[in-house]
């Protein structure tokens, strides 16, 4: 499987001889214990995978960043900047042996009438990238394959919500994975929505 970093994996302040920081890589493995949580702040939404406690702490950090920005500069924080700030914060925890890296990945999405829809992902190493579509968690490879088949630029939010729900069902392994609850959330022109499991079947039925 993956190599064991015996001796070089005891703290985040140690490099292995082949230039890897094993603590950060282990943190990325923690993301595969997927447990998604949706938090909403203003017109930005987050989806997270990994250690729930770390995710809650990070979402509090991002709320503070957004709030301070609004207070200082008089307008809502652009998503790219928020993603950068969260990524910088996560990265700081990969530099020292006194702390451990965050064991969660973050997807941030927002809609703004000037910049349109935006999507950013932050992972435990502290990188943030913008995406048209991305997936995190155990089945991310399979999900990414499905996402690549979509023509996102030509689809509406309504159509994409259905596609996303379909993908979650497709990549779920009936044998290996336990029963799951689907939580759906989307943010678009003028508003945001969160759907919990019980409503989803009804929603999907009526939409089809």
């Amino acid at each position: 499987m993956s190599s064991i970093g015996t001796g070089y994996d005891l703290s985040a302040s140690t490099f292995s001889p082949d230039g890897r920081v094993f603590q950060v890589e282990y943190a990325m493995k923690a993301v595969e214990n997927s447990r998604s949580l949706f938090c909403v702040f203003g017109v930005t939404e987050y989806a997270v995978a990994g250690l729930l406690a770390d995710a809650r702490s990070l979402s509090e950090v991002s709320r503070e960043e957004a709030s301070n920005f609004r207070s200082n500069y008089g307008h809502d924080i652009p998503l790219k900047h928020l993603a950068d700030r969260v990524a910088m914060y996560v990265h700081a925890y990969t530099l020292y042996s006194a702390v451990r890296p965050f064991g969660c990945s973050f997807i941030l999405g927002s809609y703004d009438e000037d910049d349109g829809p935006q999507l950013y992902m932050v992972d435990p190493s502290g990188i943030s990238h913008g995406y048209w579509g991305c997936a995190i968690g155990k089945a991310k490879q399979a999900a990414k394959t499905e996402i690549e088949k979509l023509q996102m630029k030509e689809m509406t939010c309504r159509e994409l919500v259905k596609e996303v729900a379909k993908i979650i069902y497709i990549v779920h392994d009936e044998v290996k994975d336990k029963a799951f609850e689907l939580e759906l959330s989307w943010v678009g022109e003028g508003n945001y929505w969160i759907l919990y499991s019980t409503s989803i079947t009804t929603f999907l039925w009526t939409s089809f």
């Binding site: 207070s71 200082n72 500069y73 008089g74 307008h75 900047h81 950068d84 000037d114």
Partner: protein, 217 residues
């Protein structure tokens, strides 16, 4: 806007002043006189610059204590430049005005300076924000400030029209400043105008002998 009684309490150099900003079709014009005074009778400078550039398309007009105004605009210029580099895009006028407001509000006990922040940005186009003495922030289509402004409220209220052309707006600003400088003893010198549009920033100086004359002069 600044009131008369505060000047006796201001130590040192003050800008007994007339400043204004006007939105027109495609940009903003900001203008000021050029006199700095100490007390009611000594002119300490005839050619002071009260239109401070805080970013490529954002200017601040200053009124009140010159020292305080210079300190605040210097700090705001630094913070704005850092903010703009972090955001990788030119700053919003609202952001510049908010920075000024934070500085004025958080230091309201020590400071005695008011500002007009005006400029152009990609998101909302030309904008004007007043940041008053205590740290109030207000957006306006046109605004006047300083001690000389009290003499021209009637003129600007009567003569302002939204969506003026550049020529009309320039005439409006020059007339307003000339009238204020004619009646306020602590405003005078030359008229400085800065025209800010998407394309450029143009600085116009109207010397004393070229100012419009009104019937009693």
């Amino acid at each position: 806007m600044d009131s008369h009684h505060s000047y006796s309490q201001v130590k040192g150099v003050s800008t007994g002043t007339t400043i204004l900003a006007v939105k027109f079709n495609g940009g903003v014009i900001i203008g000021s006189d050029s006199r700095a005074s100490m007390g009611e009778s000594y002119v300490s400078s005839k050619t002071i610059n009260k239109l401070i550039q805080v970013h490529d398309r954002i200017f601040c007009c200053i009124a009140g204590s010159l020292a305080d105004a210079q300190a605040v605009t210097k700090m705001a210029k630094f913070q704005l430049s850092f903010h703009s580099i972090q955001m990788e895009s030119p700053p919003l006028v609202k952001a510049a005005a908010s920075i000024m407001r934070e500085l004025c509000y958080n230091n309201k006990e020590e400071l005695q300076a008011g500002f007009i922040t005006a400029g152009w940005d990609r998101k909302k186009g030309p904008q004007i924000y007043v940041v008053s003495l205590g740290g109030m922030l207000l957006s306006q289509p046109y605004t006047i400030g300083g001690s000389g402004s009290t003499y021209i409220y009637g003129y600007v209220d009567a003569k302002f029209k939204p969506d003026m052309s550049l020529e009309e707006a320039t005439q409006f600003s020059t007339n307003a400043l000339a009238l204020a400088m004619g009646r306020d003893n602590v405003s005078g010198g030359v008229v400085h105008l800065v025209v800010i549009t998407e394309a450029e920033v143009k600085h116009v100086v109207v010397p004393g002998n070229k100012l419009p004359k009104f019937h009693d002069e």
